[in-house]
């Protein structure tokens, strides 16, 4: 005889205590803002290329190739990090931080960042006729005597070039650099 047992709806104590615990899927670790001075990085890369694509007189091709920076420490640091130890021709690159009281005619390239824009006239006066490639980031800089000036076009950094200003400082600008400039003054 088949035995049957009457079983009530299956009441399990475990169910009564079954809390539908959801493991927290929160987002406490969102991305950290990794702020970088990208403008300084771009300018540094450009400046190295300017140094490679411009020709200096023979008497300036001895010793270290000096790149001077009148600007924030970020710009200086970018150049040091990337280019200290590299060469222009046979000349090891040396990066120098230049204050506006120092003798900057010893530089092969002197970059004057926009925060020193009020000093540009003084710098042009002191580097006129020397073999210093003057690079700046200031509106109207070419008309003040600067050879290469950074400009912003559609949020991008580009550069404009003055051949006469470069030649006044005994520098020869190669055709490659001219072809890559946004604007060339001849």
């Amino acid at each position: 005889m088949q035995r049957y047992m009457q079983i009530r709806p299956f009441v399990l104590l475990t169910l009564l205590s079954a809390v539908f615990a959801f493991a927290p899927a929160t987002d406490p670790e969102g991305p950290r803002f990794d702020e970088k001075d990208t403008a300084a990085m771009i300018k540094a890369s450009y400046i190295y290329n300017f140094a490679k694509l411009v020709d200096w007189p023979d008497e300036n091709k001895r010793g270290n190739f000096i790149i001077g920076v009148m600007g924030g420490s970020s710009m200086y640091q970018q150049l040091v990090t990337k280019y200290n130890g590299k060469t222009i021709g046979s000349q090891p690159i040396e990066i120098r931080k230049i204050s506006n009281t120092q003798n900057f005619t010893t530089c092969h390239v002197l970059f004057v960042d926009n925060e020193f824009s009020t000093a540009i006239d003084e710098v042009v006066k002191h580097t006129n006729g020397t073999s210093t490639l003057l690079v700046s980031h200031q509106n109207g800089a070419l008309s003040k005597g600067v050879a290469i000036n950074f400009v912003v076009v559609d949020d991008n950094l580009k550069f404009e070039l003055s051949v006469p200003n470069a030649e006044r400082n005994n520098l020869f600008v190669g055709s490659t650099l001219k072809s890559l400039a946004l604007h060339v003054e001849n």
Binding site: I7, L15, E35, K36, A39, M41, S45, D155
Partner: protein, 304 residues
């Protein structure tokens, strides 16, 4: 010892009451046997017994038998370590509870069936989170599959359930996991950054005013643009500089509206002001960057 015997008798009486039905209902003997094996935690045997019951003429239409089968496979699922076996047990448990509900005209087991199904739905969600946290690029897709399974079952149990809040929480967390996977190898796992951005888009479709999704989207885009510029080789020529800069500027531009939205949602938040200053500097817009620099100074003054 008489007092102990009395206590034991009461316990038996309580157990009989607990397991007695309001209406008379005959169960297959094998169901009883399966239940006893279940109580003894011999789940494998319980499974064999109950599996035979639910395919028999006697048991295939019995809501109680399917109900017990649900519990047997639920506990097998809880004990199983192998992922594939776990999934199989869980699916059988779900199918059993559902079948029990279909056959349960008197709705005697409805409440417990639903509770069990909700529990199993939560197990899908928890598994989705665990997989997500493994940060494994080969298995991360499984997290979304599990999350979808959670939603399907939850919807079946509670058709009116609103998933908006849960979706926002889940997809923000998934975005973080995808981003972290990307950061394991930025050269070869870039697809995971795009997945993270897509995850935030899902959040913003549900909640366009979500501060975290707006802020994090902007940060991810900015960081990627900055990383691209940072990676410019020292010997890169001008055409390369121009190309990389252009690509990064596009990313900064894409980041900007999200960060502006985050700022609009929470104007006092310093992290947003810092980020806006940074984004504008990277867009070579010193005028706007200075505006946020001044706002930052103002917040510093306010906090003094």
């Amino acid at each position: 010892m008489k007092w102990l015997q009395n206590i034991l008798k009461s316990a038996v009486a309580i157990a009989v009451v607990l397991f007695s039905v309001a209406e008379a209902k005959a169960q297959p003997a094998a169901t009883i046997e399966a239940y006893q094996a279940y109580q003894q935690k011999d789940y494998s045997r319980a499974a064999s017994l109950i599996d035979a019951v639910v395919i028999s003429e006697e048991g295939k239409e019995d809501a109680m038998s399917w109900h017990i089968r649900g519990f047997v496979y639920k506990d097998l699922f809880n004990e199983e370590k192998n992922d594939a076996e776990r999934d199989a047990h869980r699916e059988k448990a779900i199918a059993s509870y559902k079948r029990s509900m279909e056959l349960d005209a008197a709705q005697a087991y409805k409440e417990n069936n639903l509770k069990s199904l909700r529990y199993l739905a939560s197990s899908y969600y928890n598994d989705a989170v665990l997989v997500m946290r493994e940060l494994n690029p080969r298995t991360i897709d499984r997290s979304e599959e599990l999350y979808a399974a959670y939603k399907d079952l939850q919807r079946a149990v509670d058709p009116s359930f609103n998933f908006a809040e849960r979706d926002v929480t889940y997809y923000k967390a998934l975005a973080t996991s995808n981003r972290k996977i990307y950061e394991q190898d930025r050269s070869n796992l870039k697809d995971f950054l795009f997945r993270a951005l897509d995850n935030y888009k899902v959040v913003l479709e549900i909640d366009p005013e979500n501060y975290g999704a707006n802020y994090n989207t902007a940060i991810n885009l900015y960081n990627e643009g900055a990383f691209g510029i940072e990676q410019i080789d020292a010997d890169a020529q001008i055409p390369t500089i121009v190309k990389v800069q252009a690509e990064s500027v596009e990313l900064f531009r894409e980041a900007l509206p999200y960060m502006l939205k985050a700022h609009e949602l929470n104007p006092e938040r310093r992290e947003t002001l810092i980020a806006l200053r940074g984004i504008y500097l990277s867009l070579n817009n010193n005028e706007e960057a200075n505006k946020y620099r001044e706002l930052l100074k103002d917040t510093q003054q306010t906090n003094k």
